[in-house]
C-alpha cells in the first residue's frame, strides 16, 4: 500500500464557473512540509480554478447552486463558490 498524504487547496471563485478568478484561498498540507495560516499571503496561488486544475490539482468538490432562501434574497454571507482540490503525495520516512 502506498503511504500517501493529502494536500487540500480550497479556492473561492468569483462565480460558479471553474475558470473564474480566485478571490480567496486556503491550503492544508497533510505532508507537513508547509504550514499555512490566516493572512500569510496577499497573492492567490492560482489566478483561476482552471489554473489549479492545469497544475495537477484534482477537484473533489464543486459547490452546489442553491437558490436564495425566501426572504433572504438580498443577504450576503459566506463565500459562495467554494471549490476544493486535492493532491496526494507519497510520504517518506
Amino acid at each position: 500500500m502506498p503511504n500517501l498524504r493529502q494536500k487540500i487547496l480550497v479556492l473561492y471563485l468569483a462565480d460558479s464557473a471553474l475558470d473564474s478568478k480566485v478571490i480567496a484561498w486556503t491550503i492544508y498540507d497533510g505532508t507537513g512540509k508547509e504550514n499555512h495560516t490566516t493572512g500569510d499571503s496577499d497573492t492567490p496561488p492560482y489566478a483561476t480554478g482552471m489554473d489549479a486544475l492545469k497544475a495537477g490539482w484534482r477537484v473533489i468538490q464543486f459547490p452546489q447552486l442553491i437558490p436564495p432562501y425566501p426572504g433572504a434574497e438580498f443577504s450576503t454571507s459566506f463565500n459562495k463558490h467554494e471549490f476544493i482540490f486535492e493532491q496526494l503525495e507519497e510520504a517518506h520516512g
Partner: protein
C-alpha cells in the same frame, strides 16, 4: 459638545458605510503612546458593560486622555453619538515567534441590527510587517456569519494588514471580519480595543455640511457620466474579493445603511434600489385605458 471641525466628513462616513472601517495613522503623539504602553502593561481596569463612556477611564488615565482627545471624541461622536455605552475592552497580545495566526472571525455573535457598534483599536507601538498586525477584510461588515464560522478562510484578495506607526487608530464596524496575524518578530505585539454601543439614533451625527443634497439626482448609469467621485462613487466601488453577484447585493446593503444614516429613504446608488422599488402595479391608473380600435 464636540467641535464640528473634529467630526467626520460625509465622504469619510460613506467610506465607513462601504468598507466598514476608518483608519487614522499616527494620530496619537509618541509621548502619549509611551505612557499608554506603561498603563497597559500595569493593567487597565474595565468598567461594567453598559456604563456610559463618560464614566470610564477616570483621570488620571492615559487611555482616558486618548479617548477624550478632541480628534477621538469627534470620530466617536460621528459614528455612535454622544456618550456611547462602554461594552468591553481588551488588550490583545500576540506573543513573539508564534506558529500561527488567529482564525478569521467576526466578534460577538451574528448581529442583524442596522444600528451598529464600533470597535476602536489603538496601536500603541509601531507594527512592522514581521509583527503581523490585525488583519481586516474591507466590506465584510454586512455578511451574515456567526463568529468563527469563517475560520477556514485563510486569505482573501484585498485583505488589509494593519502595519502601522505607533499611535494609529482603527475604527471598525462591529461586523467586520478580522483576526490577529502571526507575530514572527521577537517582540510582543499589543493592541488595545474598546467596543462602544450607541445611546442615540445614529442619524446624521457627522459634519453634514458637505452632504450634497444633489447626491441623489439621477445620473446616467453604465456610462462615462456615471459619478467617479463623491458619495455615489464611494458606495458603488466593489472590493476585489466580492463575487460577481454578491458585489451588487453589497451595494444594496450599502444603500440601506446610507438611508439609515441620513434618513433619506429615496437615496440610491446606480439605480439599483429604484429599479427594485418600482412597482407600477400599485399606482393608480390615469383612467385612460388602451382601447382597441
Amino acid at each position: 459638545m464636540v467641535d464640528k471641525k473634529y467630526l467626520l466628513t460625509s465622504e469619510q462616513m460613506a467610506s465607513f458605510a462601504a468598507r466598514g472601517f476608518l483608519r487614522f495613522d499616527s494620530l496619537i503623539p509618541d509621548e502619549v503612546n509611551e505612557r499608554a504602553m506603561r498603563e497597559i502593561d500595569a493593567g487597565v481596569p474595565a468598567a461594567a458593560a453598559g456604563t456610559p463612556l463618560s464614566q470610564c477611564y477616570a483621570a488620571p488615565s492615559t487611555l482616558g486622555e486618548i479617548l477624550r482627545s478632541p480628534e477621538i471624541e469627534g470620530i466617536i461622536y460621528s459614528l455612535v453619538g454622544p456618550d456611547p455605552l462602554f461594552d468591553h475592552q481588551a488588550v490583545h497580545v500576540r506573543e513573539p515567534n508564534e506558529d500561527s495566526a488567529q482564525h478569521m472571525h467576526g466578534d460577538s455573535i451574528i448581529d442583524l441590527r442596522m444600528h451598529f457598534d464600533i470597535q476602536l483599536m489603538y496601536f500603541p507601538h509601531d507594527v512592522p510587517i514581521e509583527m503581523g498586525g490585525t488583519l481586516l477584510i474591507p466590506g465584510s461588515q454586512y455578511r451574515r456569519i456567526n463568529e468563527m464560522d469563517i475560520a477556514r478562510y485563510q486569505n482573501i484578495v484585498g485583505q488589509i494588514s494593519m502595519v502601522c506607526k505607533a499611535g494609529t487608530i482603527l475604527v471598525l464596524h462591529h461586523g467586520i471580519w478580522h483576526c490577529g496575524r502571526q507575530n514572527k518578530s521577537d517582540k510582543r505585539r499589543y493592541m488595545f480595543k474598546v467596543r462602544l454601543n450607541p445611546a442615540v439614533r445614529q442619524l446624521r451625527l457627522w459634519n453634514t455640511d458637505d452632504l450634497d443634497e444633489t447626491v441623489n439626482k439621477p445620473t446616467p448609469i453604465f456610462s462615462k457620466e456615471t459619478p467617479k467621485e463623491g458619495v455615489q462613487a464611494i458606495l458603488s466601488k466593489r472590493e476585489p474579493w466580492f463575487e460577481e453577484g454578491a458585489a451588487r447585493l453589497e451595494i444594496i446593503n450599502r444603500i440601506k445603511f446610507w438611508r439609515f444614516l441620513t434618513g433619506d429613504d429615496n437615496f440610491d446608488v446606480h439605480y439599483w434600489m429604484t429599479r427594485l422599488e418600482n412597482m407600477p402595479e400599485n399606482r393608480v391608473s390615469s383612467g385612460f385605458g388602451f382601447r382597441a380600435g
